[in-house]
Symmetry: C2
Subunit: 407 residues, 2 copies
């Protein structure tokens, strides 16, 4: 039996230790917590109880102080946490500080600074290109293989898993219509993504090279970039997605530190085009991550997108995002873009799964082209861990509530 | 002589009272200040000295607490400030709290939450359309007259007037090239804009109607949306501008409250297309502002864009931005988009002034197609105030420094 009663093989064993922020039932105080099996360890209270020097980073209502502390501190704190949950001598101290997940509320774990979303899956980009530009000679735009395309999203509407998502209203116009109409979106969709969380800031005017990725990025989460395809289609030329995306972006409550994912590192797909030096990772350590995502609608798995197929890595995205001198702040979040594998069952959006509504998903509770009110979407994922273990990435969950009546 | 030695007709007289954040030479402490002529009044210290209930909003290192306090508080504080700088009995109290502008440092006056940039000038959009799509039958995209097009920008690189702007590097590709090249931008440009500052937040899921504009928006500033046209041209299809804009956005140090601009309100241009109800302002009070902007390069005025020509108003932009349920936060900033009038001397970007480099500006210090290292760009503006006065909007200034050598 492993220490502290976490079952053998649990994806949230002491090899994982993702970070979140929780409060206990009936209490308003928030604290940094670490997940252990189906419990959360009050990391701040533990640090205090053990007289740890890290109490200042952990006895906090958000992860931001820990994020800002930088890579050496991240390693030191993780080492300390590992000792706290594995060394039997600490058992008596931490037992009362372990709370069942069912008795806590999980909060948005960090204050989001800037939110950027990329478009890094070649399968996804080709599917979207074929759906929207069926007559184009190449389903990718000319820049796609030369740079990781991205854009800024709305950080103020990033919400934690479990938050309900109100169906957005907006303008849409079918090609056959002469003028747009207004109403609730009728093509509400998901995008299964992985989000990367920036810890250490950078200086304006100074790019962050590929080799500094781990100095700046603390960890990752699951991310659902809810998308209203009808609103997006009418608005996005020429300045990109805006209201089709800005109503909500959901993230998992647990941030998995990159230090827990070293066994999941894999080489990205072979590059088909030469890369400019600031993006050339051919001599670097593997920049991909083997994360196995699962997408469920009302509990029925509809897709299993493999993150290992992403063409652009998180390190390349960070290098690109800063190559013009743009600075990073603690709490910056960037999404990978929709994760879609090569096969039909690996597509990370309903747009692709139903080919823009041409087909339907046959769920036990009915057919779906896009999301209906009351539908609940859950993304889960795991990654290979040390010694054949699995590292659980938690989940991001959201249920659609009806659009409000216009006042 | 008006009170407190501000010359008659000064655009920063007691009818204006814009807000900023300053520190005194040699001191690190920041305080909310109000500009009066060529002085800044320490508003926090004044409130304390006079035992004002507003000390809690004004004795602060940013404007955020005042912004968050809401419209009634904004009016009350402005009324109090007006009394402090006009009632002779206060003269002795405030005299030592008035500091010459030359002896203070002005800081970014608020913490920027989300930054959105619009595209609301029909003249600008038509010029850009003609430059980039000369063969199109309509220089506007089909959506332009139906909704205020906008996109999210990078709030972490919003900087205060006077901050140097490092020339960005990035990818660019001429149509005749087979692959992109990397290097410092060779088409570095400005965009003369007005920025609107959100004070009171809103609730996710609940749109903010046109009629609630003044309940949420506190005031406005000048804004220069620095743009690298070569980087932007290669990256922006299909998800919009990213690194071509994200290296820096400069704002003026002074935020002019909307309460100071009631005499500048004007009707926007006649609408050529019917608007959906949530954007229809035909029965509302005038939503435009008569702001006279001036653009100078190295002290030479190159353009005088009239803000009164903007097709979409700030109230329409706010209603649109939230109609999908996206919420507002205190400190949200949104730019109007480049302000360009109908005549050549009224264009708010070098792109338009030199027709993408086809022509040049003949300055006393040489010809310019785009900005060179060392160039300093200054935007200034004024608006009609009560009784024939002018309301000064301050300035936003930035100098280009060379791109760093690649390491």
């Amino acid at each position: 039996m492993p220490p502290f009663d976490v079952p053998e093989g649990d994806p949230f064993g002491p090899h994982n230790l993702p970070y979140g922020v929780f409060s206990r039932a009936g209490a308003s105080e928030r604290s940094v917590g670490v997940r252990l099996g189906d419990h959360v360890l009050d990391a701040g209270a533990t640090a205090r109880a053990l007289g740890s020097p890290y109490a200042g980073l952990l006895a906090q209502p958000t992860l931001n102080p820990l994020l800002a502390a930088g890579r050496t501190a991240w390693s030191d704190v993780r080492r300390a946490l590992t000792a706290w949950v594995t060394v039997p001598a600490h058992r008596e101290t931490i037992a009362p500080l372990l709370h069942p997940l069912s008795e806590v509320t999980l909060h948005l774990p960090f204050e989001v600074a800037d939110y950027v979303d990329f478009y890094a899956s070649e399968n996804h980009a080709r599917n979207v290109g074929q759906i929207f530009r069926p007559d184009a000679t190449d389903s990718l735009t000319p820049n796609w293989k030369h740079l990781p395309i991205g854009y800024h999203g709305r950080s103020g509407t990033v919400v934690v898993s479990g938050t309900e998502v109100v169906r957005p209203s907006g303008q849409r116009k079918a090609p056959s219509d002469t003028a747009p109409v207004f109403g609730p979106s009728v093509r509400l969709d998901i995008e299964a993504e992985v989000g990367f969380v920036v810890g250490a800031p950078s200086t304006r005017g100074t790019p962050v090279p590929l080799s500094s990725f781990r100095d700046h990025v603390f960890g990752l989460c699951l991310l659902n970039d809810w998308s209203a395809r009808d609103i997006q289609a009418w608005e996005y030329v020429p300045l990109g997605p805006f209201l089709g995306k800005s109503f909500a972006t959901s993230v998992s409550a647990w941030i998995t530190p990159l230090d827990a994912l070293d066994d999941a590192r894999v080489a990205p797909p072979a590059r088909t085009h030469p890369l400019l030096p600031y993006l050339d990772d051919s001599e670097d350590e593997p920049g991909g991550y083997d994360l196995r995502i699962s997408v469920a609608v009302n509990g029925h798995v509809v897709s299993e997108p493999p993150f290992s197929t992403m063409y652009w890595t998180a390190a390349q995205q960070l290098a690109h995002m800063t190559v013009n001198g743009a600075s990073l702040r603690t709490g910056d979040l960037y999404g990978s873009g929709t994760v879609s594998g090569p096969s039909e069952h690996e597509r990370g959006s309903l747009l692709e799964l139903t080919w823009n509504g041409r087909d339907t998903l046959d769920l036990p509770d009915g057919k779906r082209a896009f999301l209906e009110d009351g539908d609940e979407v859950t993304l889960t994922a795991w990654a290979p861990g040390p010694g054949g273990t699995r590292v659980g990435l938690g989940e991001v969950r959201g249920r659609i509530t009806p659009a409000p009546n216009p006042s």
